[in-house]
Subunit: 347 residues, 2 copies
């Protein structure tokens, strides 16, 4: 069953495909998150991982955030690290700190201990959550599925959790390229299955989150990482918009454009003008407000949003988003103000 | 007394000034640090801040590292946060975590509580350390003085210590530009006095460390930060090489080149070719090996070093360094291997 075939052409999808839209579509990374009191209320009674594995609750959290903000797309509530379960790696959630891996992977020997992955079964709760969400979502609203990019997953799997500089990851991957390629190949293959199954279950768009790719030099990126991103991209149905988000990756864009993504999600460090110059003016771009701006006030938000609109000058193929996820301490009213402002300016 | 006037023209200074050299000069950020057993031995009996404030010990630590590694320049052992003392801010040292500020500065009111700075007196131990070091340093070796750049100092002073994303800094500085400019003006003025006094006491080169500038968008950098960097640069004697190190700043180089530094110290994210294209081929560059490479092995180090030499192709105006400081867990033998390798390849 490919639900997406019956999906309407949403404003968001039109922008992905460089078509003109009635308004500039907007959604926000981590739009369902700690800054929102409805989310906090759910989390009072449910642990993070239990929430992720409960399709009904995931759908509820996804839909509530979408509706409260009136954004143009919902992104399924989940976590990029859950995919590690299908390799037999145990994921735990620490507060603060976020998800981490009990048994980090640091050698070819560790990789040889992986269980045979069964993505369809082990991550069935994600596919179920997508189906439930799609049923309740207005037809003019898109539903985004996602995964972590292989290098970013490898960072967590090697370090065991988040790190300041991922120096251990670089030490092990650059010092032992057999290990690096073996790990990235496995992560790439399960990601391909995972993303395609998300599309089958209602995701009309896919976003690949490469949160830590920015720590690599461009020659290390080109050798170790880029081929796997291209492989994932080429394994996906070309009619489904494919968004690549490389965080802190300004220095990698001449390489990154070879992924041939439908949309590039850029952070605030990357100038919109520079991005279009490198990626080509016929490429859709998503971004790129600094999330810390949402910690300030309406006046500052307005001034930064106007600057973005001045740069995009209403060209088609732009999706408004942040340069990274909403920060936990962000006031909800600032987020809502941003969404309404983007809609009203662009109508 | 301007000791530098009598300084010989070291290989390092020649490279700064784009002259041909007998070999590619090399020094390493944090070359006197925790990875070195001689440094650990000193720190066993002396706390970090007590070491910084003891000119004889600072000189010893500076000289030992220089000599053990046979690098072409010494950098005075100190910490960028000590300058905060001259404003009446109390700096403490936490292990782990590094230096932090007891009384963070978060409003114009907090700034109004600063004591009148007396850089010459309050930081006399740094100037004394430079004088002692210069006396014992071989005449063919350079002595680098340094300071933190105003924005990076502001990050620490606002947050109270290091942070993952410096979101509070951005919130306060972007949301209240009067506060931002007031703080940056004060930090700029004391930095100018501080750096010029370091030159008077034996530093033949100055490096400005902008460790956190990379978190800013280019329009925020241009408005809030660049004018202060230019002011500092213009306040320095043009015969003294001025090195600007912007960490994670690949996206800012079209702005950064307006600083008109003698040398730009680039991190590993920034391609050497891209750097020269943006900064101009008549600009000296310092960098840019990823410090995590030094965690690997001789073979990997050699392959990465050869790649850098392939790119620079023995053009004048290149100083070998890391893209950031030596990591605490780095094996000493790897560091020594790197220095000897760079010297032997380039002789």
């Amino acid at each position: 069953m490919t639900l997406n075939k019956t999906m309407p052409n949403t404003q968001f999808l039109k922008a992905c495909n460089l078509q003109t839209t009635d308004h500039t579509p907007i959604w926000l990374m981590r739009q369902a998150g700690r800054y929102m009191k409805e989310y906090q209320a759910v989390r009072k009674h449910v642990k993070f991982l239990d929430l992720c594995k409960n399709p009904e609750l995931c759908a509820e959290v996804t839909l509530t955030a979408r509706e409260k903000l009136s954004v143009d797309a919902a992104i399924i509530f989940s976590d990029i690290l859950l995919i590690a379960n299908t390799l037999g790696l145990e994921v735990v959630f620490k507060e603060p700190g976020g998800p981490s891996i009990i048994n980090p992977v640091r050698s070819v020997k560790d990789i040889d201990l992986f269980k045979a992955p069964d993505v369809l079964n082990d991550l069935s709760y994600v596919f179920e959550a997508l189906k439930i969400t799609r049923k309740s979502l207005p037809t003019d609203i898109s539903l985004i599925g996602f995964a972590g990019a292989p290098f970013t997953l490898a960072c967590y799997i090697i370090e065991g959790g988040s790190s300041t500089n991922y120096n251990l990851t670089k030490q092990l991957m650059l010092g032992d390229k057999e290990f690096a390629h073996k790990l990235l190949t496995i992560l790439t293959d399960i990601t391909i299955t995972y993303l395609n199954e998300q599309v089958k279950n209602g995701a009309d768009t896919i976003q690949l989150f490469d949160s830590w790719v920015g720590i690599l030099s461009s020659h290390n990126f080109k050798e170790l990482v880029l081929p796997y991103l291209i492989k994932i991209r080429n394994s996906m149905d070309k009619s489904i918009p494919f968004i690549y988000f490389g965080n802190g990756a300004s220095h990698l864009y001449t390489q990154i454009k070879n992924i041939n993504a439908t949309v590039y999600s850029i952070d605030w460090r990357m100038d919109l003008d520079t991005a279009w110059d490198i990626l080509g003016h016929d490429t859709a771009i998503q971004g790129n407000l600094d999330p810390s701006i949402l910690l300030t006030d309406f006046k500052t938000i307005k001034s930064e949003v106007e600057l973005i609109f001045k740069l995009i000058n209403f060209r088609p193929g732009f999706i408004f988003n942040l340069g990274h996820g909403i920060l936990p301490k962000t006031p909800f009213d600032n987020v809502k103000y941003l969404v309404d402002l983007v809609h009203s300016i662009s109508k």
